[in-house]
């Protein structure tokens, strides 16, 4: 009979295989109980209904006069300023990321690599350091305004760009490198004639992708005073000026949609 082939020793294993999903269920249940009971929900404020109503009202009837009034503090100029922060920040960050990427890229096959390991840790540290705190630190150094935003974006983006670049280097095709090497090229020539041309389209593609993210962060950095559209946004929310919030939201959504579409088209052509 088939059943007798299961020996006594493997019985615990069989039970484990059959029932170990219960452990997962219990673990998930414990985590969710912890999460739900740990938060004390404040519930809705009494004013929640009226506030949401006025937000919807403001979104439906935005403050069109704010779009352009020639003062330099209007929607169009601040959206352009936001884009400028993101563009300049991403560009500087891409330049700084290249050496970081070569530092963090794993070359050989050894399991523990001191150079690439240390580079990866540094990049993780930069990535985890909150961008808002960076912006506040740079505001101390250069004063409030979009310059601080540029610096915050350019330092914070290194974390992600460096990681993406280093992975691109790890996965790149070494054929061109080897061809130049076998023809007697030195390491400088290999880098300029083989490595860079192979890797550049991917680098540019990642930079464009990071630019899309930077546009989003540049639009909120203003909330702490680092320039761009975020500053009038937070003022409008604090003063409950919902038509103004509505037009700024529209502006941000439109800006992000246009930039995402443009960048996606460019990236499709690159890779």
């Amino acid at each position: 009979m088939m059943q007798t082939t299961i020996s006594k020793q493997s019985l615990p294993l069989v039970i484990w295989r059959r029932w170990h999903w219960l452990l997962w269920v219990v673990a998930v249940a414990v985590i969710y109980t912890w999460a739900v009971t740990g938060l004390h929900f404040t519930g809705l404020q009494e004013s929640a209904a009226s506030v949401s109503q006025s937000i919807v009202h403001g979104l439906v009837q935005p403050d069109w006069a704010y779009v352009y009034n020639g003062s330099g503090e209007d929607l169009v100029s601040l959206v352009l300023q936001t884009l400028a922060i993101a563009f300049l920040g991403t560009f500087i960050s891409a330049l700084i990321s290249v050496p970081f990427a070569f530092w963090a890229a794993r070359g050989g096959r050894e399991w523990l690599h001191l150079r690439s390991g240390s580079g990866k840790i540094i990049l993780t540290l930069i990535r985890t350091f909150p961008e808002i705190v960076l912006a506040i630190m740079f505001i101390k150094a250069v004063g409030p305004g979009s310059y601080a935003g540029v610096l915050a974006v350019s330092i914070h983006s290194i974390g992600m760009l460096g990681k993406l670049f280093s992975e691109a280097i790890e996965n790149m095709d070494r054929g061109a490198d080897e061809a130049i090497m076998s023809a007697g090229g030195n390491s400088g020539q290999i880098f300029v004639l083989a490595t860079l041309p192979t890797i550049l389209p991917e680098f540019i593609s990642y930079t464009l992708y990071r630019f899309e993210i930077a546009v989003r962060s540049a639009s909120i950095l203003g909330m702490v005073g680092a320039g761009g559209i975020g500053t009038p946004m937070i003022f409008a929310i604090q003063t409950r000026n919902w038509p103004r919030v509505g037009i700024i939201l529209l502006g941000i959504v439109l800006m992000v949609l246009v930039i995402d579409t443009l960048s996606e088209q460019l990236r499709k052509r690159l890779v």
Partner: protein, 263 residues
């Protein structure tokens, strides 16, 4: 062997495209540096203030650690609940946006456009609005993270659904199964592992995001971050940043391990 060089169109011979791109890049760079008022000299002349801040950041006040344990837990709890609510909301939308399940093009592109709109909104901006609605506290944070992860998860989900094997679906449809039966028995089993993997990935991102949401009053560790920064108490800020770093790394590690087991 041909003695003539191959004919080059003038676009190629004069390198019109690369030169054009370079000029565009330079113009954009100059324009944006003028618009943002970038001034390297100012940064260098104020460098002492910056380094003073850095030295104060490098002396963490460890006795502050017990104070921030509770809000740190709150941050993780917010991230878990927000991601779960967002993912649960995202599933039906993802099914409706998948090209291989919904053949009505108008419905599909309508839903996709709606999801694109949701994805354009940055997390802190959502937090500012929801704090105005729900008041200061973690409820605003959970709602913010739910909406934020809804936008991200739904896109990841419908892209997975579009890659599934259509065989089981056709088998069930050919014996007359209804839409819900097909989704339950043919679609979900194929994508469940990927779903859980993307859910964990979103959770990682949300843990990072939730650490700053409190800056605008949406609960969690960000509240303390803002307080310490406002009081210029940078040694407390340092402890908060380091503790956040540890939490993010632990969650990343667990989630990475689980995802490797799943896929």
């Amino acid at each position: 062997m041909t003695s003539q060089a191959p004919h080059q169109p003038w676009l190629q011979r004069w390198h019109v495209k690369p030169i054009g791109w370079t000029i565009l890049l330079v113009v954009l760079l100059v324009a944006s540096s003028r618009m943002t008022g970038v001034d390297v000299g100012m940064f260098l002349s104020n460098l002492d203030q910056f380094t003073a801040l850095l030295t104060r950041l490098s002396q963490p006040a460890w006795d502050y650690l017990p104070v921030i344990m509770r809000p740190l837990y709150e941050t993780i709890q917010m991230a878990i609940l927000g991601t779960t609510i967002g993912a649960a909301l995202a599933l039906p939308f993802a099914l409706l946006a998948a090209g291989n399940l919904v053949h009505n093009r108008w419905l599909r592109s309508g839903i996709r456009f709606w999801l694109d709109l949701v994805r354009t909104l940055p997390d802190l901006l959502l937090a500012a609005i929801f704090v105005a609605i729900f008041g200061i506290g973690s409820t605003a944070g959970v709602v913010t993270l739910a909406i934020f992860s809804f936008g991200m998860v739904s896109k990841l989900f419908y892209e997975v659904i579009e890659t599934i094997d259509m065989g089981p679906l056709e088998a069930l449809e050919s014996v007359g199964a209804g839409k819900l039966t097909v989704i339950w028995y043919a679609v979900l089993p194929q994508i469940l592992n990927q779903f859980v993997s993307y859910f964990l990935y979103t959770l990682e991102i949300n843990v990072r995001a939730s650490t700053v949401l409190g800056y605008l009053g949406a609960g969690g560790i960000g509240v303390f971050l803002q307080r310490s920064l406002n009081e210029f108490n940078y040694s407390q800020t340092a402890v908060i940043i380091l503790a956040t770093l540890v939490v993010v790394m632990v969650i990343d590690g667990i989630s990475n391990h689980l995802r490797r087991v799943l896929l």
